[in-house]
């Protein structure tokens, strides 16, 4: 490793450096407002879970000639006592129906009844029993918990070797804060979407949220890795300068990575069809927020925390 010895003597141009950590308060304010809004929306509107969690039936049909009105459809199906029937138009001539769980025989009757209303083609039918929904909820909770625990351990492990001037668990905790930020914001958005546009939390969206967990840490690790390397290389003159310098070095990569992922996700959002639409939307929001938080939350937080600890030490 002869190169490293050489690279210890470097002259860096610090004049063109953007002092990221100088404006920490602004970032904290922006993120604080967003997080509060997300929490408020969660408290007021809650989350609208899809039938895979709550149980029930959903049916998608395409009418071949014309689409009957929502009222006409609801009225036609009244005789089957389907509970609350939600009728949602999709596409040019399609309808998504949601009602309580029914068996295949009733499903066929419903289909015949709708056929009588207007000629149609059934695209899909789904029935989820109540026990299945509960089961899925439990499994999802376990998956989220396991993901959080393993990520925490992983960060602690990855940063076990640095201790000065910032101890390794501080890296772990700040990246966890960033993580919550990155998941809370898309969840908040989906709470709003659920209330105003009837968008439901479905399995694909859970998958997207868990992926965001991974991706957000991924971003933060790259930046923290650079901070770690710069501390080892340059020694620590001032910690905030090291962080700023590291951010300036990694910003190009951060932007490029987010852009390439966003490019494919936007492509999926616009061309990928219904099922993957909200899946990609969740990823778009989460990944953008993840990139933002690794630069503007995790790293500045590290500096603020360090400064606060130093002040406290000085007071003693």
């Amino acid at each position: 490793m002869a190169f490293i010895v050489n690279s210890k003597i470097q002259i860096q141009d610090l004049t063109n450096m953007f002092p990221f950590t100088k404006y920490s308060k602004i970032y904290y304010a922006v993120s604080g407002i967003l997080i509060l809004a997300a929490i408020a929306s969660l408290i007021v509107f809650g989350l609208k879970f899809g039938i895979e969690f709550t149980g029930g039936s959903t049916m998608e049909v395409d009418f071949t000639s014309h689409r009957p009105s929502n009222e006409a459809i609801s009225k036609a199906l009244a005789e089957f006592s389907l509970g609350d029937i939600v009728v949602q138009p999709t596409g040019s001539n399609g309808v998504v129906l949601q009602f309580k769980g029914i068996d295949e025989a009733t499903h066929q009757k419903v289909l015949t009844k709708l056929q009588a209303l207007a000629p149609l083609q059934e695209k899909s039918f789904q029935y989820i029993g109540p026990s299945v929904g509960q089961d899925l909820k439990n499994k999802t909770e376990i998956a989220i918990l396991l993901a959080l625990v393993s990520i925490t351990f992983y960060i602690a492990f990855a940063f076990r070797k640095i201790s000065r001037p910032v101890s390794s668990w501080k890296y772990g905790i700040t990246s966890l804060v960033a993580l919550f930020h990155d998941v809370l914001i898309p969840v908040g958005v989906f709470s709003l979407l659920g209330h105003f546009l009837n968008v439901e939390i479905t399995i694909p969206i859970i998958a997207a949220l868990l992926t965001i967990l991974g991706f957000s840490v991924h971003d933060t690790i790259v930046i923290f890795d650079r901070i770690r390397e710069n501390i080892l290389r340059r020694g620590v003159k001032s910690f905030d300068e090291t962080v700023d310098w590291s951010l300036n070095q990694t910003i190009g990569r951060s932007i490029s990575t987010v852009v390439t992922v966003l490019l494919v996700m936007f492509s999926l959002f616009f061309f990928g069809g219904e099922t993957l639409k909200y899946f990609s939307l969740a990823l778009i929001i989460g990944i953008t927020s993840g990139a933002y938080s690794s630069i503007f939350i995790a790293s500045p937080l590290l500096v603020s925390w360090q400064k606060w600890s130093e002040k406290r030490l000085a007071k003693r």
């Binding site: 299945v132 992926t211 690790i221 190009g252 899946f279």
Partner: protein, 486 residues
């Protein structure tokens, strides 16, 4: 370990560099044609037509598509195991029975799988009549022991069958034939009163002297009496065993059970006391199969109606497939354009390795094979966006090294070895998430986790291996003067 690898490829060893490069080109060509053989085959057809050659087509292996992409029904059942003591055996017996029935639908590649303790997953691709499928699956298994008809009866039924067939050939109304229902019966065997409900259990044992497997039957007290009567009147005659109206096992070895199969051990003597042994030349596997099926008929496990059902019309499946593929192609193109605009020559090389990455991953999907669902394709498309990340990290490092005035080959090597810890840490983390997703979840997430996981692993390979070799081959001393390309 990987540090070793970085030292292994010595950029000054020209010969080694080109050998690896040629290897990668061959791999890429193979993977590309394997993933999408249409162009190759069209070319071959053209050449064959023009020069009357007989060049073979490329190996064609279809992608395995999930139900959401090819249409079909996905049913989950919960079995009532409250009356059963050996739950595991009861479930595998149930699976066996359902598998037999499902195979009768004639759908391509049905899946019957036990999930957890008491759940059974049934996937029927392309099935049209879902209602009758559900009815057929939900029936209680019916086990019967049939005795041989006397020759006169057999002849009557065979004649009737012939009569009905003739009428069908002439397109006449068969219901006008007297006693036409007779033709539906088995001409050689007739049901006895002895059915599954009189059987207590069947077990596999081994003969004390020959060590051959044999099947022990244990009837209950009513069954013992019935069995005694039946055996008494049928000595040296066969006793046929049917499950759901078909032979209990495939006897002619054609891999399916139909009317040409018959399992009918010969009754050796009148049997009193309600225990019997079936002997004969059979493998342990066959003996186990028979015993399990006898038990599933003896202690039928009720499954009732599905606890969840998902039906996807073939139309929707095809549209979803088309849309997601289109999204993938647009996404890939957008990434390629972005990389070339921002990273110029290395960006172009990274794009080439990205395309190779796509071909390789698709080939792996075909080879394993990975069942591609909508979620899986979503995961794969996401991995396309993430795959270039390792390249970007490396290029960013290279640029820094070049800025510091290092020569190109040193900068390439430095870029790779410096970026490696970040690439490793961040990807390991994503891999952990994928594994958790795979272990704890539903089929939708599993499909997503598998493709994303494979994508991440292949992308690591393509970034540190393919891109690196491309860089070494194309960015040599010649480019030292054209550093603006980097």
């Amino acid at each position: 370990m990987l540090r070793k690898y970085f030292l292994l490829i010595n950029s000054n060893n020209v010969q080694q560099k080109y050998i690896i490069f040629i290897g990668i080109i061959i791999l890429a060509l193979f993977a590309g044609n394997f993933a999408y053989p249409n162009y190759f085959n069209k070319g071959v057809d053209f050449l064959n037509g023009k020069f009357h050659w007989t060049l073979p087509h490329f190996w064609e292996k279809p992608y395995v598509l999930g139900l959401d992409l090819q249409g079909g029904v996905d049913l989950t059942y919960q079995a009532d195991l409250s009356t059963v003591s050996d739950k595991g055996a009861a479930m595998s017996g149930l699976r066996d029975v359902i598998e037999r029935r499902v195979n009768l639908f004639g759908v391509s590649e049905p899946v019957v799988q036990i999930q957890g303790q008491d759940k059974l997953l049934v996937e029927l691709p392309g099935v049209k009549d879902v209602q009758s499928a559900i009815q057929m699956i939900g029936q209680t298994p019916y086990l019967e022991f049939d005795e041989q008809r006397d020759p006169k009866e057999t002849q009557t039924i065979l004649d009737k069958i012939k009569e009905v067939q003739d009428a069908q050939a002439k397109k006449q109304d068969i219901s006008k034939i007297k006693d036409w229902q007779l033709a539906l019966q088995n001409p050689y065997f007739k049901p006895t009163e002895l059915t599954g409900k009189y059987l207590s259990k069947a077990t596999v044992a081994f003969d004390q002297t020959t060590f051959k497997p044999q099947i022990q039957l244990q009837f209950n007290s009513d069954g013992a009496k019935l069995f005694e009567n039946i055996t008494a009147r049928n000595i040296k005659k066969p006793l046929a065993i049917f499950l759901d109206g078909y032979s209990i096992i495939d006897t002619n070895g054609d891999g399916k059970i139909d009317n040409s199969d018959l399992y009918a051990p010969i009754i050796q003597d009148k049997i009193t006391g309600g225990t019997a042994v079936i002997t004969g030349d059979m493998s342990v596997q066959t003996a186990n199969d028979i015993a399990r099926r006898l038990n599933s008929g003896a202690l039928p496990v009720k499954i009732g109606n599905p606890i969840s059902q998902e039906t996807v019309g073939p139309l929707l499946g095809a549209v979803s497939l088309q849309q997601s593929l289109l999204a993938g192609i647009f996404g890939l193109l957008a990434v390629v354009v972005f990389m070339i605009v921002f990273y110029r020559l290395p960006g172009l090389l990274a794009s080439i390795s990205l395309v190779i990455y796509v071909a390789l991953t698709l080939s792996i999907f075909k080879l394993v094979p990975v069942t591609l669902t909508l979620a899986g394709i979503g995961g794969f498309i996401l991995s396309i966006g993430m795959a270039v990340d390792a390249n970007i990290l490396i290029f960013a490092r290279m640029k820094e090294e070049i800025k510091q005035g290092k020569s190109l080959s040193v900068a390439i090597n430095e870029g790779f070895s410096r970026a490696w810890p970040s690439i490793r840490d961040s990807n390991l983390n994503s891999i952990i998430i994928c594994i958790i997703l795979f272990l704890v979840s539903t089929s939708f997430i599993k499909g997503f986790a598998v493709t994303l996981l494979l994508g991440i692993i292949v992308s690591l390979f393509s970034a540190i291996f393919i891109t690196r070799i491309l860089l070494m081959v194309f960015i040599g001393q010649r480019l030292e003067k054209f550093k603006w390309l980097l």
